[in-house]
Amino acid sequence: MLTTPTRVRAFSLFAIWLLWEVNAQIGWLVPEVFTPTSQILAGLAEISTSPVFYEHMFFTILSTGVGFLIAVFAGTILGIGMGAFRIVGRALNPYIAALASSPKIIFLPVVMSFAGWGTETKMTMAVIGAIFPILLSAYAGMLSINPVHIRVAKSFNIKWYDLITKVYLPSLRHPLLVGFRLGFGASLVSVVLTEAKFGESGLGFLAMQYYGLYAIGKMFSVLVILFALAIIANFLLDRFATRVPH
């Protein structure tokens, strides 16, 4: 029965839903949190008719998307630079590794003192969240580029920009995709956290608002939407990945 990945996937989703629903119905474990799915669906139906919800969603998507794209460009370029100039790369690597593994929320006060309370702060936080995984995977990829490919390219007297676009970037395709995936998740987390903590808009803010009002069904429906956004983004990255050969 569970013979294909799709079936296993569908079954595990169903099993989790069933556990959740049974628990919610008999009110066994923290019934305030595990609301019945009917309530979440009702919440979804309700918020999806309110224009305010779309406004919030728009701000979250905008901040995450713009921040992520900036991080994609900047992270890829910096990672390639660090790999191409080994001395710079080796010199900077410990700092970057330290920054990468520290919680990005510590940058929030600094960013806010520059950019205020608005969308710019969220975008900046998205950039900070996404840039490290992207940069580090680009750098790691640069270190494992097949040196003979570079020698082949040089034997054809390749120009530096052709070397980047026709050798470095395609060689980095797999590590970069991993970096983009991790980076997108990180930028969404940064944006939603910022919204939840200090924002006046966005899905993170909305979820916290519903939480404060004990509207747990609606709060979950916001989380479901966030989940769906992450899935859509992943799907788009996947579509992009299948166009990349081997």
């Binding site: 003979v148 082949v152 034997s155 054809f156 007297n157 395609p170 050969p245």
Partner: protein
């Protein structure tokens, strides 16, 4: 094969190269090496492991600078990678993300050749190395011998006058290697190319070349060249002839000393480390 002796297309003049590794005495990989190759000639450079063959290859190809001396192509001194020299590397070097066609067209793309022309040229060179019908495949879908032919076609695409190869068949099995060797001799006749082949395989050197240059170990210099006076094409009969065997023996006699010395020195270096 009779060559006009005044038609030098490639010459290596007094080339030296040392490598400096921290905390170790410098390695003199090449010491005032000379070599002249006539137009249309097929020359093999043979020598023991570590004698500086790849170093010579990289210097002729302009990928690393020499300490002294110069490389002349058609009477002018080269400065970095030269259009007239095409390089084929020992390692697997096809681009995994490009199809056979796109691999072959790579240098044409760099040269700004329009797409339609590139596709045409790629098809032509794929055909030349016996890969027509595989244009849309990726390297991962090919055998090792086919991939090396893709690399060869990619180098040929710019139609270099001189084909420079560093043990291009080293990673291949014996039979594939013999067949590819035949293919290369055919191709160079068709394209009227000059070939400098670096190898450590004596049979291969005798099977393919007009002349075999023997390199010594530390310092690396060409210590002797032997003309291979055998009819072409060199099929199984030629290879099983006494004369062929005689050449192999003669080269081995010369090489044996060098190889043994190389082995002794590397063993000694290992022993010193412990």
């Amino acid at each position: 094969m009779t060559q006009k002796k005044d038609n030098v297309v490639l010459s290596v003049e007094q080339v030296s190269k040392s490598f400096y590794v921290e905390d170790e005495p410098p390695i003199l990989a090449l010491s005032e090496t000379d070599l002249e190759v006539q137009k249309g000639e097929f020359v093999a450079v043979i020598g023991p492991s570590g004698c500086g063959k790849s170093t010579l290859f990289n210097i002729i190809g302009g990928l690393i600078p020499s300490d002294t001396g110069r490389i002349m192509v058609d009477g002018r001194e080269t400065n970095g990678p030269d259009k007239q020299i095409g390089m084929v590397f020992q390692e697997e070097s096809t681009f995994a993300w490009r199809t056979v066609e796109q691999n072959i067209a790579f240098p044409l793309e760099l040269a700004g050749v329009p797409k339609a022309e590139r596709v045409k040229q790629a098809a032509h060179f794929a055909d030349l190395v016996g890969l027509s019908g595989f244009e849309k495949r990726y390297p991962a879908e090919l055998s090792g011998g086919m991939r090396q032919r893709v690399a060869l076609a990619r180098t040929l695409a710019l139609e270099p006058q001189i084909l420079l190869m560093d043990e291009p068949f080293a990673a291949l099995d014996e039979q594939t290697r013999m067949l590819l060797g035949e293919k290369i001799t055919e191709i160079r006749e068709e394209l009227d190319q000059t070939v400098l082949l670096i190898t450590h395989n004596i049979t291969e050197a005798v099977q393919l070349s007009d002349r075999v240059a023997i390199m010594s170990f530390r310092p690396g210099v060409i210590k002797r060249t032997i003309d291979i006076d055998l009819p072409r094409p060199r099929g199984p009969e030629t290879i099983s002839s006494d004369k062929f065997g005689h050449y192999v023996g003669e080269i081995w006699a010369d090489l044996r000393e060098e190889a043994a010395r190389g082995l002794r020195e590397s063993e000694k270096a290992l022993a010193d480390e412990h």
